[in-house]
């Protein structure tokens, strides 16, 4: 095989590899969701972040407006401190509240922002004061069981309970 022909095939081989890498990064990976737009940072303290991870999306009304930058633990307030990178184009009022939500029943967790009514917007490095922790399934179940037990206890005390409540035995 002549030299030029070998060079051509080697070049094609390396190009194929580059194309495969681009495919993996853009089509299979999340490079296309990286935005290189300028950002400003916000922090929020949560009692419990559940399964929130760094790089999780920050959404408002379902639209991605930023990403979680890093999650640390503050050993003075014993709360999780979540640093958010917000896109410069989206401004939020100072009384915006943040909550940790789950996409779908078993999906990944993200931060949902609900805008408030304040006239001033967050400055760079601002802090979200109103936060709501992640829902922990165990707490939810124990709360439910506690409520049920309480209802049953109170219904057995009253003899004139409505017929629809199940008898406690």
């Amino acid at each position: 095989m002549s030299r030029e022909k070998t060079d051509f095939w080697v070049g094609l081989f390396v190009l194929l590899g580059a194309a495969a890498l681009v495919f993996l990064a853009l089509r299979a990976g999340n490079l296309s969701t990286f935005s290189f737009a300028p950002t400003y940072s916000l922090t929020a303290d949560f009692d419990n972040i559940g399964g929130l991870k760094a790089r999780a999306p920050v959404k408002s009304a379902g639209v991605v407006v930023g990403r979680v930058n890093k999650i640390t633990f503050d050993d003075h307030s014993f709360k999780a401190v979540v640093a958010l990178d917000m896109e410069e184009g989206y401004q939020f009022p100072k009384d915006t509240s943040a909550s940790i939500l789950t996409s779908g029943l078993l999906g990944e967790q993200y931060i949902g922002l609900t805008a408030g009514g304040d006239e001033q917007n967050f400055a760079d490095g601002g802090k979200i004061r109103y936060t709501q922790s992640a829902v922990v399934l165990e707490n939810l179940i124990s709360q439910f069981l506690y409520n049920t037990a309480q209802n049953q206890g109170s219904s057995s005390e009253k003899p004139s309970a409505p017929a629809s409540t199940p008898p406690s035995n």
Binding site: T6, F13, V14, G17, A20, L24, R27, A28, G29
Partner: protein, 262 residues
Amino acid sequence: MSGLIQAISALGHWVRDSISGIGGFTRFVSSLVARSGIALSRPRLVSQQVHFIGNYSLLIIVVSGLFVGFVLGLQGYYTLNRYGSEEALGLLVALSLVRELGPVVTALLFAGRAGTSLTAEIGLMKAGEQLAAMEVMAVDPMRRVLVPRLWGGIIAMPVLAAVFSMVGILGGWVVGVLLIGVDAGAFWSQMQNGVDVWNDVANGVLKSVVFGVTVTLVALYEGWFARATPEGVARATTRTVVVGSLAVLGLDFLLTALMFGN
């Protein structure tokens, strides 16, 4: 009493042997690195080897990648379907290929397809006294023969692994989306949500580079130190596959623990 002495000296022999083996391999590697300048001054030698090692391995890599993707698609669907989450099929196929199967299976095939041919070629050159003839002509055979093959292998392996992963994902897509009927949008969007460019794709590429260095070095070492007989070359070729594959599997465990441990 003499049996005990024999056992102890066998142990001592084994220790000395393995230490001198490690030392020989290290000296071999360092002398290859010291002569690597030829890869820059005569790049055509390297590109010939990329052609020989890479282009000719492309067919087996593409076909294996396609079938691994098919099987992942089928088996993944079978399991995920039980939990009603067959949309995660794309994520499963992409993560397993990009993180593990792409680099590892490519390296195993690479050891079998390219490593053996390197060992056999160099071993036969030695048996035919071509290497000695080069030395007589004042051509350093290590520099002229081994270094271009080393760099050819190091360049070819990551390319092959990336092609393997891409073809595998496409194979999973063919089975999952086209044949079984998983929703195409969910297939790709779950994949994009779950596969991180730096954590998963870049670490996979790093793995494939490490495996390329390992397999090529083992193949060259075995060929260079093969006994110059037909039997010696046959043994060296076998050892290339066995040692190369075991090294890849062991290194993969280590690298996975380091990269994805937390």
